[in-house]
């Protein structure tokens, strides 16, 4: 298996911390991800409802760009992952659309046979392909004492994801028990964060975000682990607005799971993109982990 890497637009801007930490973690694990040359935007959640054919073609272009040396395409962003996966399935099952998409690709000198590339989410690759033993072997800073709330969001766990239970996913939970963290089994981990609802109806969006923060706080989580730029943005950037709106006092750092994985692997926090989040994560993490180290040395 050889892995091509599709970072997606968010990782180039708003969620640079995700990109940075993915690269650092991958390097530390001695694992190869080859970034796709000349990739384009996946169209996010909107394009499919605007124009299915164009949306499919735009995504199919990325699949077609995966060269013969690679058979896996890894996406860290939940929306990109879902779009790529959905398109591959659509092309395989709907010959009508496929015919038109083939024409569009041919105009650019490209072609794609559905199923040639396996679309994988980064979590799946880390969990399944690298696996428990290899990851555990590289842990130098166990996350002992840190209570993490894994948040899957709603896109990675659609039924076609192929690696985790769509109703009650557990893979990220399991991975963080490997790292020694106290994993919070809270009930809303696959509920929706509202996506772009903040742009349409703030009140509804705030309520969706509040539910997530509330449940994690009820379960006494120190921080929430994300694997989608949209979710991170909603829960982090809007946390203050949610507090104002509901008169709550949430102060939960929202970080990418790769950032915390990086910490466990002993990577310097500076190289993991910490500090870009609005609710600062570093003091919480340091507080917990150093407290632990101090207790251990006593």
């Amino acid at each position: 298996m050889k892995y091509a890497y599709y970072p997606g637009c968010s990782l180039e801007s708003g969620s640079a911390a995700y990109d940075k930490s993915v690269k650092a973690v991958i390097e530390q694990l001695g694992f190869g991800l080859d970034e796709l040359d000349d990739w384009n935007c996946c169209g996010a959640t909107e394009y499919f409802s605007q124009n299915e054919l164009v949306a499919t073609s735009v995504i199919a272009r990325n699949l077609a760009l995966v060269d013969d040396r690679h058979d896996q395409l890894v996406a860290p962003c939940a929306a990109c992952f879902l779009n790529l996966k959905k398109t591959d399935k659509l092309l395989a099952e709907q010959p009508k659309i496929r015919g038109k998409v083939d024409q569009a690709l041919a105009a650019g000198g490209l072609r794609y046979r559905p199923g040639r590339v396996q679309v994988r989410h980064l979590l799946d690759v880390l969990y399944t392909d690298i696996g428990e033993q290899a990851i555990k072997a590289k842990v130098v800073q166990p996350l002992t004492g840190l209570r993490v709330a894994p948040y899957y969001g709603c896109q990675i766990v659609r039924p076609l994801n192929g690696f985790d239970n769509p109703e009650y996913p557990m893979k990220l939970d399991e991975m963080f028990t490997w790292l020694g963290a106290e994993v919070v089994d809270y009930p809303v981990k696959a509920h929706c964060c509202g996506g772009h609802m903040t742009q349409i109806s703030e009140e509804n969006a705030f309520e969706l975000i509040r539910r997530l923060l509330q449940s994690a706080a009820d379960y006494r989580a120190d921080l929430i682990l994300c694997m989608c730029p949209m979710c991170q943005l909603n829960m982090d950037m809007y946390q203050g607005r949610v507090n104002n709106f509901f008169n709550t006092k949430f102060k939960l750092p929202i970080v990418y799971f790769t950032q915390m994985l990086g910490v466990a692997l002993g990577i310097d926090m500076k190289k993991l993109g910490f500090g870009k989040e609005l609710v600062a994560a570093e003091p919480v993490i340091r507080g917990k982990l150093e407290g632990q180290t101090a207790a251990a040395t006593k």
Binding site: E167, Y168, M170, Y186, P187, V188, R211, Q214, S215, D218
Partner: protein, 676 residues
């Protein structure tokens, strides 16, 4: 001398005629196939008029062979054989070819289906010419019967036969007979006490002079066939001398090791390492659970041994293999509950006050761990509201597509018990309310009157994530109420998951041992879903109760009795016909290599030491043909399936492919033209 063949093509109403042009085929066969003297089609060939037609033709036209194109031989081979027999023809000179299940029912295109039916009829005509007259054999039926499974279906079957004066071996895997019914408190819709109606049957079976009870025992192996099965039973070691034990219970009382009882108490209560599952257990002989006994763990204790007044404790007792011989077998192995953890969004195992239906049965039971008090996991709080979730693992593509049949009624029963014992509100979350047996709908109406609340919708999740102050500390059931078309949240104290009924884990394995098959899901397949519900495709093996599919107590009892009646009929008749379709070995040509001896799945081939050759024991042979194919010298013949017959059948099926070759010999000049 050329044969005179009669061909009869059945319309089966529109079952065959709807997709196959039967008239055309009958006419074609009469005009084109050699040796066909008569060829007819008829609306229902299996009707008495259809049979009469065949009989008349055999007599009038002096037919020597008959081909019927109709349904599966499973259904009507016997019918048409009898018709031929009535007219004085050997019944094995008839061939029934299946143009319904194998053709009209499975094809969409009428012309292609017609062509296939044509090929099948042609194949049968070629084959039937080579069929030979055979004479069936008869063997005595052993009047003893084996019943596997001591739940209500097996108990009923056992008692029916035993009361009729026949001996029954009742084999039960667990330490006591009684099955799931022994775990229940009340039974729907009459609400009579489950134990009160079950235990008399249990003790009757335990004391009956015609019943040999083998509990804590499993079926190991079956050989032989209808009328004379040889069965090996593994009597697992109880570590207790069955005959010496008086059932006084001192050992159980004094045993210091308590373990969670996941079987009878469904994980709601404890038992000891030496135990009887429940007070009314039959037999009253305890077993030592070797996985939890202190002696087996670290060679200490032996309290039970020291205190036993009759020295019945035997730590060194080993499993025993018991050989029995029976004429018939009734399988009544029941069901197992769905593992509700497979639906994690319902929270079972994660949220304390989510219960399975079996757990709730024990909670309601006056003899259960709470003496019938409905309390939450803390053991004291009485719930103020309870949600009952239907179809957990049933009617769900991701788990089991089928309806488990009993859960709606069981949910209503739970509702009644809760309303009777507590002040709690009860909500039922159903997809469709299925109450379609005698007095069931009336029970539903009764619960509507009693104030049970019904919400039509499939529950999407059970969560403890409160959104409103009223939800704090509650379990929230999220569900779309499809009657008002709105998402609703119901905060409750307790949730009961009505898990599906599933086939036993090893149903397939047991089926293989007894030579019967399972459906996709793992329920045993009956001989005919409507007209032969307790027989199976293997003569002498019957099924009863939920091992054949989900059903309630009345239906299980009915099947147990039905299976017993079928067996009693066989015993009364005294003899059973064995198909003469068996293998035979040309002993003069046999080299005695013994390859066939080991291949035979029925142990039907013996080796004769004096002559150093093998011989088929015809009473045991099933005619499967394994040895025929395996014999390196080719000296084994399968009656009714010999090479000549099979090759003729293949040639017949390929009639159209062989046609040009036949023409080419008569019209040699046209060959080059058609070849180019």
């Amino acid at each position: 001398m050329a044969e005179k063949i009669g061909v009869y093509v059945c319309h089966c109403g529109s079952n065959i005629a709807g997709k196959v042009d039967v008239e055309e085929i009958a006419q074609w066969a009469g005009e084109n196939l050699d040796d066909v003297a008569v060829s007819r089609d008829y609306k229902f060939m299996c009707s008495s008029l259809g049979q009469q037609m065949i009989e008349d033709d055999i007599k009038k036209e002096k037919l020597t062979r008959v081909v019927v194109g109709a349904c599966s031989p499973h259904l009507h081979e016997k019918t048409f054989r009898r018709a031929c027999s009535n007219a004085g023809m050997n019944p094995y000179l008839m061939d029934l070819t299946n143009i319904r299940e194998h053709c009209s029912w499975v094809h969409k295109d009428r012309s292609l289906a017609t062509e296939k039916a044509r090929a099948l009829i042609s194949a049968a005509v070629q084959r039937v010419k080579h069929q030979e007259p055979l004479e069936p054999m008869y063997v005595d039926v052993n009047p003893a019967t084996l019943v596997i499974g001591g739940g209500i279906a097996g108990l009923q079957a056992t008692l029916e036969l035993a009361d009729a004066g026949y001996h029954v071996y009742l084999v039960e895997r667990l330490p006591s007979i009684g099955g799931h019914m022994a775990q229940f408190d009340k039974t729907f819709p009459t609400l009579d006490c489950s134990a009160c109606i079950l235990t008399p049957k249990m003790s009757e079976a335990g004391q009956h002079e015609n019943v040999t009870l083998l509990t804590y025992a499993e079926l190991e192996e079956v050989s032989g066939s209808v009328g004379s099965f040889k069965v090996k039973i593994r009597q697992k070691s109880r570590c207790v001398d069955y005959d010496a034990c008086t059932g006084c219970g001192i050992c159980v009382e004094k045993c210091p090791r308590k373990v969670l009882d996941t079987e009878f108490e469904a994980g709601m209560g404890n038992r000891k390492a030496i135990y009887m599952p429940f007070p009314q257990a039959v037999p009253r002989v305890p077993v030592i659970d070797q996985d939890s006994c202190i002696w087996f763990e670290r060679q200490k204790c032996r309290a039970c041994e020291k205190l036993c007044p009759t020295d019945a404790i035997k730590f060194d007792q080993e499993d025993e293999l018991i050989d029995i011989e029976v004429g018939n077998i009734i399988i009544a192995t029941g069901w197992k509950p769905f593992d509700s953890k497979k639906i994690p969004q319902y929270g079972y195992g994660r949220l304390a006050n989510v219960y399975t239906s079996m757990e709730f049965e024990r909670l309601c039971n006056a003899a259960g761990p709470t003496n019938g008090k409905i309390v939450m996991r803390d053991g004291k709080t009485v719930p103020k509201s309870i949600a009952i979730v239907h179809c957990v693992g049933s009617r769900d593509d991701r788990h089991n597509p089928y309806c488990s049949g009993i859960c709606c009624m069981a949910a209503l029963k739970f509702g009644h018990l809760v309303l009777e014992k507590t002040d709690a509100e009860v909500y039922s979350f159903y997809i469709d309310m299925r109450t379609n047996q005698k007095n069931y709908e009336e029970f539903y109406q009764r619960l509507l009157g009693e104030g049970m609340r019904f919400v039509r919708g499939k529950v999407s999740e059970v969560t403890d994530a409160a959104r409103m102050p009223t939800e704090q500390g509650k379990l929230i059931v999220q569900c779309e109420d499809t009657l008002i078309g709105r998402q609703q949240r119901y905060p409750v104290d307790m949730v009961i998951l009505m898990g599906a009924l599933e086939p036993q884990e090893d149903a397939r394995e047991l089926g293989l041992k007894c030579g019967i098959s399972c459906s996709m899901e793992g329920w045993y397949t009956e001989r005919h879903p409507k007209l032969d519900p307790v027989a199976t495709m293997t003569d002498g093996v019957f099924v009863a109760g939920t091992c054949q599919g989900p059903k309630d107590i009345p239906a299980s009892v009915a099947q147990g009795a039905a299976a017993a009646a079928r067996v009693a009929g066989m015993i009364t008749k005294g003899k059973v016909m064995i198909e003469p379709i068996v293998a035979s070995i040309n002993e003069q040509a046999c080299s005695g290599c013994k390859i066939c001896n080991n291949m035979c799945p029925y142990n039907a081939i013996e080796f004769i030491e004096e002559t150093e050759t093998s011989r088929v024991i015809t009473a045991l042979c099933k005619g499967c043909g394994t040895c025929v194919a395996a014999c390196p010298a080719g000296v084994i013949t399968g009656a009714h399936f010999n090479n000549k017959q099979i090759f003729a059948e293949i040639e017949g099926a390929l009639w159209d492919a062989l046609q040009p070759a036949a023409e080419s010999s008569s019209q040699a000049e046209t060959v080059p033209a058609s070849a180019s």
